[in-house]
Amino acid sequence: MTTDPATELSFEEALKRLEEIVRALETGERSLDESINLYEEGQRLKSLCEARLADARQRIELIQQNAAGEPVATRPLDAQ
């Protein structure tokens, strides 16, 4: 699978899909092939969510305006 539609999903969508997959597997009503495919999809979704969670950096910037009040730049803000 070269193009993974999961990369297009938002964290929320990915998590929701993962929940569906887990529930589907827990009922144990899927065929073996289907179960394996679902499991692999679940693993991909989990990796995707983890990547999104890992991307959690606090960056705080202050908007700087020109004379017309338009935002032209930002500079780091230390509000501590």
Partner: protein
Amino acid sequence: MSENTPEYSVSEIAGAVKRTVEAAFGQVRVRGELSQFRRQTSGHWYGRLKDERAVLELAMWKGVAAGLSFRPEDGMEVIATGRLTTYPGGSRYQLIIDRLEPAGVGALLAQIEARRLKLQAEGLFDPARKKPLPWLPGVIGVVTSPTGAVIRDILHRLGDRFPRHVLVWPVAVQGEASAGQVAAAIAGFNAIAPGGPIARPDLIIVARGGGSIEDLAAFNEEIVVRAAAASRIPLISAVGHETDTTLIDYAADWRAPTPTAAAERAVPVRAELAANLAMLHGRLDAAIVRGWKLRRERGLALARRLPQPRNLIGLAGQRVDDLSERLPTALSARLARVDLRVTNAAGRLRPALLQARLDRSVERLAGSAARLAPALARPLNSDAQKLARTGAALRPFLIEQRLASAAGRLEQAGRMLDTLGPRQVLARGYAIVTGPDGHVIASATAAAAQARLTIRFGDGETPVYTSPPAKPVQGSLF
């Protein structure tokens, strides 16, 4: 009237009145209804304060106006604090305002309520206008003062929950300039193009700490409410404390009771998400493993129900053992039975019986032989007579006649053959020309192509060699 009464010039009397008025009313508080209160281009405000029976002229210099916590509107009940003075050039007296405040919270609330009803009638607060908040915004725009507890609280709470990229648009959150700046900031965030040098927020938080209704006045301003309603980026309002409600709250997509609550609504808790994800991952693994186990058990259960090969062989082996054990017994039993029958038969076998049957057969044979010769002779005689008759009927001359006729025809055919055959023809002077390969050459063209020919005459063959015609000599052209 006495001529002794001192005489004033107009200026003198105006000055005297001015001094008297200012001395007597240097600091007064006057309650009344605003009327024709307007800001001039100079920045100063002029108007009137009135009640049922009287009117008082008002003047408010722009420095005082800048500190106002509310927007003065005609018809509003206010308390003006200041000093009375006169305007000698117009024979007028007026109140120079040092401080202007609504006549109690009720007056201000009534003003806000009237504005709310007006904007509501325009549909600015319709639930259908509310946009869903992003579940996990990547960039959050915060419109607030860049200093103070509010921004610190928001940033701390965001950092605790899910660190994000935050853009702070600095504004005054109080005073005359506040409303315009807040409105411009909301519009400014919306004007940022996606993919530009400055990140476009996925969510806007408009925040201010708690304060009096006058302190929060900017967030009741129409210009701010309209900017919030027009925002295409989802917007959370977080102005004042939980009990404070400003008009921007009605236009916002979500109203947070406090700035901290806004941060909580803005992002989920990363640690909880991680825990939830880990839990789901665990369930995923457990489910697949349980699936395997279930299938394995099912397989084993089926396998148990299959007869064991060992048992199958064992049973067969047992039968073989059983049969092989019974085999000698069965054989000897059968032998015994056969033996018994032989013995019985032998007992009944007596030579006399055999002799009697033999005698009877001999008798029948003799009888048959006696009848045999006459029976044979009869058909033989009959055949001999038939043969004699047929022989007499045969006549050999018929065949001889046909033979003579056939010999005559054969001789005639032989003569015909000689006449037509090539030998006779050759004897009459014709010859046959053949090529080296023995094929007949039947034309001059074919003969010219051969260097050697054979001519066959009636009495034999002779070879001939054809010589090519002499080539004409080619004369030189030069």
